[in-house]
Each structure stands twice: as C-alpha cells, then as structure tokens.
C-alpha cells in the first residue's frame, strides 16, 4: 500500500497552465546515517519521479539522497487535451508506486 497525495485540477481550459503537486510516503534513507545499532543504514531512496500525459512524458526528475523524507514535488503542465496524467515513483529495493489523475480539458 503506498500513501500518495496529489493536488491537480479535475478540469482545465485548453491551453491553461496547471500546477500539479505530489507527496509520497517514503523514508529517503540516505545511506550515510548510522542506525540504532551504530551501523550505517542501507540507502533506500526514490531515484526517479516521472509524469506522463496520455502516455507522453512531460516531466522527469532524478532524485538524490538530499531530497527530504516523504518527497514533495510540484511542477506545471500545459493542458492540451483531456486525458490521464500518470505519476510514477521508482527507487531502491524495487520501490514502484503510481498515481493517476484524470483531467477534463474543454
């Protein structure tokens, strides 16, 4: 179960530039911190965040351990046509999560 919060408008006028904000539950363990037993905790981060609009990639971000825990990303998109925006997070330990938003453009 992943916990994801996304804020994007459900409708937009053609050509509008809309903001998409996304927050996901993830420790973003840096791989540099000692754990309770003094040993370094293995790195466990989200490495990549992407957004597609009707299948075309419109935004991608490579993350480093310097991105804060429970990563937050906001970006903009031009609403050209109605469709589905798919947000995807992938990272260490096979982490993969996805969230879809349908946006009606008139």
């Amino acid at each position: 179960m992943s916990n994801i919060l996304v804020n994007a408008p459900k409708t937009a006028r053609r050509g509008d530039v809309i903001e998409i904000k996304a927050l996901i539950l993830h420790p973003m363990e840096t791989g540099f911190r000692p754990g309770p037993n003094g040993r370094i905790l293995p790195r466990n981060i989200i490495e990549r965040f992407t957004a597609t609009w009707n299948g075309t990639e419109i935004f991608a971000m490579d993350m480093s351990p310097a991105i804060a825990a429970n990563p937050f990303v906001s970006f903009f998109a031009r609403a050209n046509d109605s469709g589905t925006v798919v947000l995807r997070w992938t990272g260490d330990e096979g982490f993969a999560a996805e969230h879809r938003v349908d946006i009606a453009v008139e």
Partner: protein, 258 residues
C-alpha cells in the same frame, strides 16, 4: 564539556533575554506562531503537509477489519467526520467503567483490545500514530475543551506539579523554559509555550509523525532528565495539565514542528 559550563551558559542566555523581555497580558501562542513562514505554509497546505500522508493512512486503517472480532473502526463508528468530530478536543479522559484517564492513543488501544479483540499497538507504532492523527484531524480548527470531570483533578494536579518541578542534571523545570522564557531564543530556537495543539505532529527533526509523549521525552533528554518509562502515567498527567492550560486554543493536527 562540563555541566557547570552549560548551566552558566544557559544562565547567560536567559539573563540576556530577560533584559529585552516584554511581559504582556495573557496572549497564548501556539507553536505554529513561532514557526517561520515557510513552515507555516507547509502546515497549511494539505498536499504539502507530510502529516497528511499519515492521516490518509489512518483513514485506510479506519475501515480495515482487524482482530478476532474482525471488525473495523468504521463498522462501529461509521464516518469519522461525524462520529469523531470534537473527540480529540476533550482527551485525556476517563473511559466508561474506568477510574484512570487515558490519552487518545490509549482510548484507541482500548477499542482494539475490547472491541476488535486485537493486540495493543505499542507506543510510536506507525499504525497507532496514523489512527490517532486521523481521529484528531476530525477536530482540526476546533478549540481544546477539556471535560468537566472532577475525577481528573488529582491527575491534572500531578501534571502541574511535574511541570513546575526542577529536574534533570540541568535542574530545570518545564515552567522555567515554557512560562518564564517562552518566546525567547535558546540556542537559536524560539522556546514555544508548549501547547499541545498539533499532536500527533510531523516533526522535521524526526522526519516522521510522533506523539506528544515522544516530544516530552525530547524535552526531558534536553535537560538531561531520565525519561519516564513509555507506559508511565506521568505522560497522561502532564498532557491533562497542558490541555487545560491550552483550553480554547485550536487543534491543528497534523501540525508541522521543527
């Protein structure tokens, strides 16, 4: 470094701030007001506030069947927006048939053991924090309203005594920091008035959600006092006192704190 040096240092910090202190009328401030604009914005925006991820998780757990009874919270309580509205404003409280106060987490654990017939969730357990945040979030923006129950007086009194008692290697009381020096800076940090308005909070230092108990343990560590055991009644007593002291202030759960 010697402890003496520290105490002297602390004295200096306070002495310096005493000079510029403006003792005003009773104008209580939530820790929210002591934060910078960036953090206030983070708290106010539900898709920027990481505490909301835990509220979301709590909402998922709310309708999940658990325990021997195979019942979910929702099976008995229905929609939390209605049944849990205002509940967090009046905790800790004495449960039906009980004689000692429990905090909201304790109350939820009672439902787990008595009604769901599931195990108690341990302190700081993620699911327990998420459920507590979800329940408390239903009271966001509502004023803290401790119950009128005279059976609570003795416990609250115990909390008040702990609050005023000097303790730890630094020999400080909660009151010295949070009453006498609130609003002043300690090591670059504004000392808040210690109102429990936002619990469970997302503390940036923890990079996670945590309870008032955990926050109090941090303050105890700060003054080099031994923290009470995790299940000690002291935490509930102090919370009763703090909630009474914060009566009328609005709940913010899930709050952000540095």
């Amino acid at each position: 470094m010697s402890r003496r040096l520290l105490v002297v240092g602390l004295g200096l910090v306070f002495a310096a701030s005493y000079a510029t202190a403006q003792v005003g009328a009773d104008k209580r401030r939530s820790g929210y007001q002591d934060m910078g604009e960036a953090l206030q914005k983070m708290q106010d925006d539900d898709t920027a506030n990481p505490g909301m991820l835990f509220v979301q998780l709590g909402g998922q757990l709310w309708s999940k069947q658990t325990g021997v009874a195979d019942k979910s919270c929702a099976d008995c309580h229905g929609a939390a927006a209605a049944s849990m509205k205002g509940v967090a404003t009046r905790y800790p409280a004495i449960p039906q048939g009980g004689d000692r106060p429990v905090d909201l987490e304790g109350r939820i654990n009672l439902c787990r053991t008595e009604h769901q017939r599931a195990d108690r969730l341990p302190p700081e357990n993620r699911e327990l924090l998420a459920l507590t945040a979800y329940v408390a979030h239903q009271s966001r923006d509502m004023p803290i309203a401790p119950p009128y129950d005279h059976r609570l007086d003795a416990f609250r009194q115990q909390g008040a005594e702990i609050y005023r008692r000097r303790q730890g290697q630094l020999n400080l009381s909660c009151a010295i920091c949070h009453d006498d020096n609130a609003g002043k800076k300690l090591a670059g940090v504004v000392i808040p008035e210690a109102h429990p308005t936002g619990y469970p909070i997302y503390r940036l230092e923890w990079q996670a959600l945590g309870s008032l108990k955990r926050r109090l343990r941090n303050c105890l560590a700060g003054i080099r006092a031994e923290a009470w055991p995790l299940d000690a009644s002291e935490y509930v007593a102090v919370e009763l006192f703090l909630m009474d002291r914060a009566k009328g202030l609005k709940l913010e759960t899930p709050a952000i704190r540095p």
